[in-house]
């Protein structure tokens, strides 16, 4: 393991200044929220930062607060806090359920929402250090390898799947991310935060190396809206989604007024399904519609040698989730 220096800034301004300074000095940086994944990556030398910026003293990045605009969630809020918070549970159910499905109680106690959203891939080839695109190499080993968990949508040239549970939920809730850099801050809709490998294979989102995902703003929930997170796992705990669906439906008088549907575990980014949303909106939620939504969800999906089973699985999960929210 390479030596690194650890800094514990006290303010957001200091944090981004330190990042900028280190990068300008030619040093590599890493940002630790809960550190539950990062420390393992450092020990296994997937990343080898010169400077590790630990956010633990940034009190301003903690807390969940309600305002007239909705709810503000600090980037350092833990998975456990999110999954237990009464307001999140009642009005933003999909997020509470997604956060509660992450890993184990121990990891949920330290893992942060910003860290979960920005989590690096868990593809076996990447984590075992194969020279794949994500490790700076020139190919994706999963294409002809062990690809049972890899992408069926949006793949190429890398076929990783995005591992985050909370990201699809935040997209389905139309959250916005406050991103703070040394020279500016900006608000980015969650739906526009992630980028496909065909755009930039080295990263999964728009966050710059000197930027912090500081907080998340959830809009007010309109009356009649219900949301849920369905996650299929190989075992019942401590594993990523084989396929997951984050869905928010606003239903009045049996008619779907608004739909937001985002898949996890199937694509290199959380996979937004605007076509499915349009299909649902304005229509009566019933078995027939749910069946069509399921089919539409996997339109264009393609399997590698061992992951085609995820296509009917995704179809079924979308159909079931529509029906469960419409019931």
């Amino acid at each position: 393991m390479k030596s690194f220096s650890n800094v514990n800034p006290k303010t957001l301004q200091e944090t981004v200044f330190l990042l900028k300074e280190a990068l300008q000095g030619g040093e590599s940086v890493a940002v630790a929220g809960g550190g539950s994944d990062l420390l393992g990556m450092i020990k296994e030398e997937r990343v080898a930062p010169d400077v590790l910026v630990n956010l633990k003293n940034l009190e301003s990045l903690r807390g969940i607060e309600e305002s007239t605009d909705g709810v503000r969630i600090g980037g350092l809020v833990t998975m456990d806090e999110l999954s237990r918070h009464p307001l999140i549970r009642s009005r933003y159910t999909v997020l509470a359920e997604a956060a509660g499905s992450v890993a184990t109680p121990q990891i949920r106690n330290v893992g942060t929402v910003a860290g979960n959203v920005c989590q690096r891939p868990w593809c076996w080839y990447y984590r075992e250090g194969f020279p794949c695109f994500k490790n700076g190499g020139d190919r994706c080993f999963s294409i002809v390898g062990e690809n049972q968990f890899n992408a069926i949508l949006g793949g190429g040239p890398s076929f990783i799947v995005h591992p985050s549970d909370t990201a699809p939920a935040l997209m389905a809730l139309e959250a916005r991310f406050r991103i703070v850099g040394p020279d500016q801050e900006r608000w980015v809709p969650a739906l526009e935060f992630f980028i496909l490998p065909e755009e930039d294979v080295s990263r999964e989102n728009v966050l710059g190396q000197d930027e912090i995902l500081a907080e998340i703003q959830l809009p007010q929930v309109e009356a009649g809206t219900q949301s849920t997170y369905e996650k299929v796992m190989d075992r019942e705990a401590w594993t990523h989604a084989v396929v997951s669906v984050a869905m928010s439906l606003q239903i009045r008088g049996g008619i779907c007024r608004k739909a937001r549907v985002v898949l996890g575990g199937v694509a290199p980014i959380p996979w937004h399904l605007p076509g499915v949303e349009q299909m649902l909106e304005g229509n009566r939620v019933a078995a027939e519609l749910a069946g069509r939504a399921g089919k539409a969800a996997v339109a264009g999906a393609g399997g590698l040698s061992n992951n085609a089973y995820k296509i009917p699985l995704t179809e079924a999960l979308v159909r079931r989730t529509v029906l469960s929210l419409g019931a």
Binding site: M1, E128, F130, G145, V232, D234, W238, Y309, P312, L317
Partner: protein, 781 residues
């Protein structure tokens, strides 16, 4: 026989309070002044020649005490650079070739682990890649690249003394069994069933990874603290490795954080002992979880079964089983032998031909794993039993009952079976799952089914257990035994046996932990053998003490020996407890002095008749059998492929249960282990490199994956020579889990899975193949 007082009681574990309060000793907790730590550079190639090693930069690093290579070990006078329980095929560190990814190449000893690991990065090794063989069937073919050029039998175990150098091949051991005329059975059969079943390589996942600490004491004696299931073997191994007399080596074992077969025979001990001798300082090497995967695995296996049926009865069976033993044989040949002769099942089949092969490949070494290869063969024959009975439209339970061996009938080896509660286990399992009851209810997308399986394993024979029992003049007792307490409860059960025989309280018996300077030889703590073997040794040693006590008491009480009873710490004439003597009185009468001791020692060594090398036959191939049955009810989600085990029953013939609660816990714990092997666990390799070698990616069952309804049932068929009628139970619960679940899945879905683990992916594929629905999303090839 009078009723027992302590044997048969579910007394609390001796180590429970210390374990739950974190006060138990493990090797990793031992602190020592000047203790050095080890890190090992491992091969990135599955097969390569070592051209050169540059290590001077690592040696120059501050805090590094020693950097050692295999070539340097090979040049040491009196040191044997190779070790292994069946063949001496494993170098302490790679000498000229590496044979699997993760093969140890260079060891660094430093003042702390961090520096030792950092120093690894300063070492450069030049490799020349060599041809690789990874698939067990490919490896078994002639002309495939050879993993080893020669065989050197280790010659340490009596049951392996028939091992001999064969011709050049990756097959390092071939077990054969020939009974009747199997070809004639196929010619005359109405129906012939041919199926292939596979089990992948897997890992034991003990909570405590391997760890060894070695120091030289003031007498320069080699002191070893190690997490092993076989302290006696480790001493023998180190004596050979180091060229030292056995009494210059002391091996001690505190409590293990689980073993499951991973911690048998020599593992880290030869390396760490050499490092301590070279540095003259205490040295500890503790494996990381990732290294654990590279150190020892469960054998992957391919089993081909061909079964002849005539008039609804099995008349012949041919079994070909290929065990992938990885780059080093470890105990693979014994696994192939012991599981080999049970491959056709515990059934009355007149014509049997078995060929079971132990095959080298360029993968991490495979060794013992709870069940010693038997779960892999039961997975095959119990899956096929269901395939056949469904095809013949015979009830699967009745089909098994019809073929099940009964007391005194010969096993496929010709050995008559004794204490063989197979039918009883099957009956109990069927009753508990309500086999004859109504079919479970299905809903639109979730279907339910029931499955059952039975099977048997034989205990390793011959093997040896020695015990010394020492009674003190206050009636307290020390039991000196090399049986390792690894969670199975041996301390408790052995104390119950000693207390029962000596007539003292359970709390008065103390188990001395394995220490080769103190505790006598024991073959291994494995294979469901300790209760029976060490139990018998402890009981026999206790009887010798009791004989002395009774001799004294008979004179003092003017009573006949045969009228005396020992109970509750007193010796008295049967029926008049008040007028007897306390143990203290007996010691005073014998010695006239307190603080004195009486010692009994015994060696229990049941014999076997070696199986014939050509026919596999033996009039006594084993000392005892332990039948198992499992019953499962599953719910399968037809759209996600997820399997939920709703109900599971683990049934085992334990003989007389010394501690019924322990027996239940063993049956359930073993079933959980095998539940993981059934549904989740598989080491996935890419060109010999493990892809999922972490606790996140290699999935063992979580508490949420356990069956909702999960019970065990003891079938107690006493064994005439077991201690108080007991047999072993450590592996019983693993044996029949996988086929019971697969059989239930077929019952629910009509899909037959032949390859473990049973993942949602395989179920969905099976459903798609069985019933390709129009309109279902296209499944591209």
């Amino acid at each position: 026989m009078s009723k027992t007082k302590i044997v048969g009681q579910s007394v609390h574990r001796k180590d429970a309070a210390r374990k739950v309060t974190g006060r138990i000793l493990h090797v990793g907790n031992i602190e020592m002044p000047g203790l050095l730590q080890v890190a090992v550079l491992r091969s990135p190639y599955p097969h390569a020649r070592i051209i050169g090693i540059q290590k001077s930069r690592a040696e120059a690093m501050e805090g590094v005490v020693l950097v050692l290579t295999g070539a340097e070990i090979a040049a040491m006078p009196d040191v044997d650079p190779y070790f292994g329980p069946a063949f001496k095929d494993q170098p302490i560190l790679a000498i000229d070739r590496v044979l699997h990814v993760g093969d140890p190449v260079v060891a660094v000893v430093a003042v702390d682990r961090r520096r030792a690991e950092d120093a690894l990065e300063l070492i450069e090794v030049d490799y020349e890649p060599l041809p690789v063989v990874l698939d067990v069937l490919e490896a078994a073919k002639s002309g495939s690249p050879l993993v080893h050029q020669e065989f050197k039998p280790a010659g340490v175990f009596a049951d392996l003394d028939h091992m001999e150098a064969g011709e050049k091949s990756n097959v390092c051991y071939h077990f054969k069994l020939r009974t009747g005329d199997v070809e004639a059975a196929f010619r005359e059969a109405d129906r012939i069933f041919e199926d292939t079943f596979t089990s992948p390589p897997a890992q034991h996942m003990p909570m405590e990874p391997h760890v060894t600490l070695v120091y030289l004491d003031e007498d320069e004696k080699v002191n070893v603290w190690t997490a092993t299931q076989s302290p006696s073997f480790v001493r023998t191994q180190l004596s050979t490795t180091l060229g030292l007399p056995m009494n210059r080596i002391r091996v001690r074992v505190p409590y293990l954080g689980g073993g499951y077969g991973a911690k048998l025979y020599g593992k880290l001990e030869p390396l760490v002992a050499l490092l301590a001798l070279e540095t003259r300082r205490p040295v500890r090497y503790a494996l990381s979880r990732e290294e654990e995967f590279q150190t020892i695995t469960k054998h992957g296996a391919v089993a081909r079964l061909k079964t002849a049926v005539k008039d609804g009865v099995i008349t012949g069976r041919r079994c070909e089983v290929f065990f992938d033993t990885g780059a080093y044989a470890d105990i693979g040949p014994r696994i192939v032998h012991k599981s080999g002769y049970t491959s056709a099942g515990p059934y009355r089949i007149p014509n049997v031909r078995i060929d079971s092969f132990c095959v080298y490949t360029n993968k991490p070494p495979a060794g013992a794993f709870r069940g010693f290869g038997v779960p892999q063969v039961i997975w095959a024959y119990e899956s096929q039993m269901d395939i056949i009975s469904r095809e013949l439209d015979i009830d699967p339970v009745q089909f098994r009952m019809h073929h099940a061996l009964e007391e005194g009938e010969p096993f496929a080896t010709g050995t008559p079976v004794h204490s063989f509660g197979l039918k009883e286990s099957l009956e109990q399992a069927a009753e508990a799952i309500e086999w004859s009851g109504p079919r479970p209810q299905n809903n639109a997308t979730k279907v339910r089914g029931k499955g059952i399986a039975s099977g048997v394993k034989a205990v390793l024979t011959p093997s040896i257990s020695g015990a010394v029992v020492m009674m003190n003049s206050d009636g307290s007792v020390n039991v000196l035994s090399s049986t390792v307490e690894m969670g199975q409860g041996s301390d408790t059960v052995l104390a119950q046996i000693a207390a029962e025989e000596l007539g003292v309280c359970f709390d008065q018996v103390h188990l001395v932990q394995p220490d080769t300077d103190v505790t006598p030889y024991d073959t291994i703590t494995a294979g469901s053998r300790s209760t029976y073997h060490m139990g018998n040794a402890v009981r026999m040693a206790s009887m010798k003490i009791k004989a002395q006590l009774f001799g004294v008491a008979a004179r003092a009480l003017e009573a006949n020996l045969e009228d005396l009873v020992a109970r509750d710490g007193r010796i008295f004439v049967s029926g008049s407890q008040e007028s007897g003597m306390s143990m203290r009185d007996v010691f005073l009468a014998k010695f006239g002095s307190l603080g004195t001791t009486i010692i009994g020692e015994a060696i229990f060594e049941p014999r076997a008749i070696p199986t014939d090398p050509e026919t596999g036959r033996s009039e006594k191939c084993t000392e005892y059998w332990f039948p198992s049955a499992s019953a499962a009810e599953v719910e399968v989600d037809l759209e996600t492929g997820q399997v939920k085990v709703v109900k599971f029953l683990s049934v085992g013939d334990t003989g007389t249960a010394i501690n019924p609660r322990h027996c239940h816990q063993q049956l359930l714990g073993a079933a959980i282990t095998q539940l993981g092997m059934t549904l989740f666990e598989e080491m996935v390799f890419e060109e010999g490199q493990l892809l999922n070698g972490s606790l996140l990616d290699y999935q063992i069952p979580s508490v949420k994956d356990l069956p909702e309804h999960f019970e065990s049932i003891l079938v107690e068929v006493p064994h005439e020579t077991g201690p108080f009628g007991a047999k072993g139970v450590g592996e019983t619960g693993t044996l029949t889990v996988s086929p019971a679940i697969a059989n239930a899945i077929e019952d629910a879905t009509g899909v037959r899975i032949r390859d473990l683990p049973i993942t949602p992916e395989k179920i969905l594929r099976g459903l798609a193949e069985k019933d390709p629905k129009p309109g279902r999303a296209e499944v591209p090839q």
